[in-house]
């Protein structure tokens, strides 16, 4: 019965009107999305390209794997920890950097690979070694694994040592506190006590805390910034500079514009359908079904717009969405912001046409037609 009524109703739509109703919200939605992105792209000083370095992003996620979710990832923050680079350390010819007696930070992973594989290691191997994430990835080791260290300078004739990978490191720059540069110890295994003593603070990352993290200016990890970095630094800058007010204004303006167009389309659609629906009701159509069917195309249309907004958010603004990490409320927020007025428009539209199909209104409409 319903599908037949839908067929009947569909014949009431003029193709041009249908096209207008369909394209209006979608076009407006797309324009709002593009505007939003242009704004971001203009404001944010992006190094590299926006869509670059997806592999790097995935690597980060892989290192997050032990905790399975980003929000649940435990990270120990090592502040004021010097980061040495090749050439800036003890011996310019030596790539592996020794910091302290037993902590190994490797910035030149290619050298590390050759050093380890070639049994050419400088320093004093301790009970554990910390590797930066990409080095660990290149060596295909994870915390708890053992790597073979050929010998140390103090004991050149000694046999190779097996050293346990105690943890993974992630260089970071803190935007919020004077651009400190240091190391994040991503706890993926049991840190030895000596490493824990170097840790000055500990926190569990949340969505908001992540906004202060970036790989910026750390060539050992990546020469370009990931989309996450862009998002993080963008929102970090916005939050610290108050620029979020401008962004909020743009978003609100776009939403208001879209809402106005959506409501106008709905009103036009309902006005166009009014007479036909009233007549169908007079002939025996059920008002509630007819009202529902009249509003259904708009509901589907808005659902499409919401889905599109969701996809845009997911693909461009929140790349984590692709991996469905545990921040659904935050990630869904833009879609919810769009869905809410859509729901209001559809609900008000339904109420409106339901009123139009009430007894008195039908009689007035048909009576008016009858002169």
């Amino acid at each position: 019965m319903i599908d037949r009524r839908l067929l009947v109703l569909s014949t009431l739509w003029k193709p041009s009107a249908l096209l207008a109703v369909v394209t209006f919200p979608i076009a407006t939605m797309s324009a709002a999305a593009v505007l939003f992105f242009l704004t971001i792209s203009t404001i944010v000083p992006i190094q590299g390209t926006l869509f670059h370095n997806r592999a790097s992003y995935r690597t980060v996620l892989a290192s997050d794997a032990p905790s399975s979710t980003v929000a649940g990832l435990r990270v120990d923050v090592v502040t004021d920890f010097p980061l040495f680079r090749p050439g800036g350390g003890i011996d310019p010819d030596v790539s592996p950097i020794m910091v302290g007696p037993e902590l190994w930070v490797v910035a030149d992973r290619q050298r590390l690979v050759s050093d380890v594989l070639g049994d050419d290691v400088i320093g004093t191997p301790g009970p554990g070694v910390l590797l930066d994430e990409e080095s660990a990835s290149l060596l295909a080791v994870k915390p708890g694994d053992q790597i073979s260290m050929g010998f140390d300078l103090l004991n050149p004739s000694g046999s190779p040592l097996l050293i346990t990978v105690a943890g993974l490191l992630r260089p970071y720059v803190s935007l919020g506190e004077g651009h400190h540069r240091g190391l994040l110890v991503v706890e993926a295994g049991a840190l030895p006590q000596w490493a824990r003593e170097l840790v000055s603070g500990s926190q569990t990352l949340t969505g908001s805390r992540r906004t202060y993290l970036t790989f910026n200016d750390v060539p050992s990890v990546s020469g370009t910034r990931t989309r996450e970095d862009i998002r993080d630094s963008f929102f970090g800058d916005l939050l610290s500079s108050g620029g979020w007010l401008a962004l909020a204004a743009v978003v609100c303006l776009g939403m208001a514009l879209w809402l106005a167009v959506a409501w106008r389309s709905t009103s036009q659609h309902l006005r166009r359908m009014r007479y036909g629906l009233a007549l169908l009701t007079a002939l025996g159509g059920r008002p509630s079904s007819l009202a529902l069917l009249a509003i259904a195309p708009l509901g589907l249309l808005f659902a499409g717009s919401i889905a599109m907004a969701f996809a845009i958010d997911g693909a461009l603004i929140f790349p984590q969405l692709l991996h469905w990490v545990a921040e659904p409320a935050v990630l869904l927020l833009p879609s919810i912001l769009i869905a809410a007025p859509c729901f209001v428009v559809v609900a008000v539209g339904y109420r409106s046409i339901r009123y139009e199909l009430s007894s008195q209104a039908i009689v007035e409409l048909l009576g008016k037609e009858d002169g």
Binding site: R4, S288, D370
Partner: protein, 241 residues
């Protein structure tokens, strides 16, 4: 083909102390003030009265589109006002055929689709509805205009399409609101011939202020100041003249 227009059984209609009031500009307008009448199965009744007397409102009350303020209409033993919205819609769909003064055809649909519309609403298959609609259009002499849109038809032709649509679901009661009001004399005669064909056994209630139309119906109920009085045909003719 006339059998398509003809109905096998008419409805019995009874109005009991029907009252209808509308709120308008801070006051209540009393449209119907205790209307009572009875129409037997297959009767043909003219509902006369001047413009604004409440003829259309009475028709809409009988058809279940307007709910009376008090009193009620009983059609085939069912009190229309007691039906819920869904049942009233079903009642209109199956038991009532409406003919309007301005034809009220959907402009986007062809004559054929307009006639098929009530059948489609009733769940009749597209094919069956089309076949039956073609038969009905043939019965009203418009077989060759089936694919024409309403604006491509004359007023008389449009009203004949409307008549065909009104009987599409084989209702027991035809409610016609000034069906000839917008037609010339010849077209009006043609439409009345269709509605009042001897083979048509349906109950027919025609709201009209045209004495010529009233004369063609067997009985006249006059509506004035919200109340009805039975009148003979001669009386109607005299008042109109």
């Amino acid at each position: 083909m006339e059998t398509l227009i003809a109905g096998s059984k008419g409805a019995h209609v009874s109005a009991q102390n029907l009252q209808l009031r509308f709120p308008a500009k801070r006051r209540m307008v009393e449209v119907l003030r205790g209307v009572s009448f009875e129409i037997a199965e297959g009767d043909r009744v003219a509902l006369s009265g001047s413009s604004g007397a409440g003829k259309s409102s009475l028709l809409y009350c009988i058809g279940g589109m307007l709910l009376p303020s008090s009193g009620g209409v009983v059609v085939d033993g069912r009190l229309v006002a007691s039906l819920d919205e869904r049942a009233r819609a079903e009642f209109r769909l199956r038991r009532i055929g409406m003919v309007f003064q301005s034809f009220q055809l959907l402009p986007a649909l062809s004559a054929l689709a307009n006639v098929a519309l009530p059948m489609r609403l009733a769940g009749v298959s597209r094919k069956e509805a089309k076949t039956r609609a073609e038969g009905l259009l043939d019965a009203v002499g418009l077989a060759d205009r089936a694919q024409h849109k309403p604006h491509e038809l004359s007023g008389g032709e449009q009203q004949r399409v409307a008549v065909a649509r009104a009987v599409a679901n084989d209702p027991g009661l035809i409610l016609a609101d000034e069906p000839t009001g917008n037609l010339d004399d010849d077209s009006a005669e043609l439409v009345l011939d269709l509605l009042l064909a001897p083979a048509n056994k349906r109950t027919i209630l025609v709201a009209t202020h045209d004495p010529r139309v009233a004369r063609r119906l067997g009985r006249v109920v006059h509506l004035a100041k919200g109340r009805t009085t039975e009148e003979d045909l001669a009386g109607i003719g005299e008042r109109q003249t």
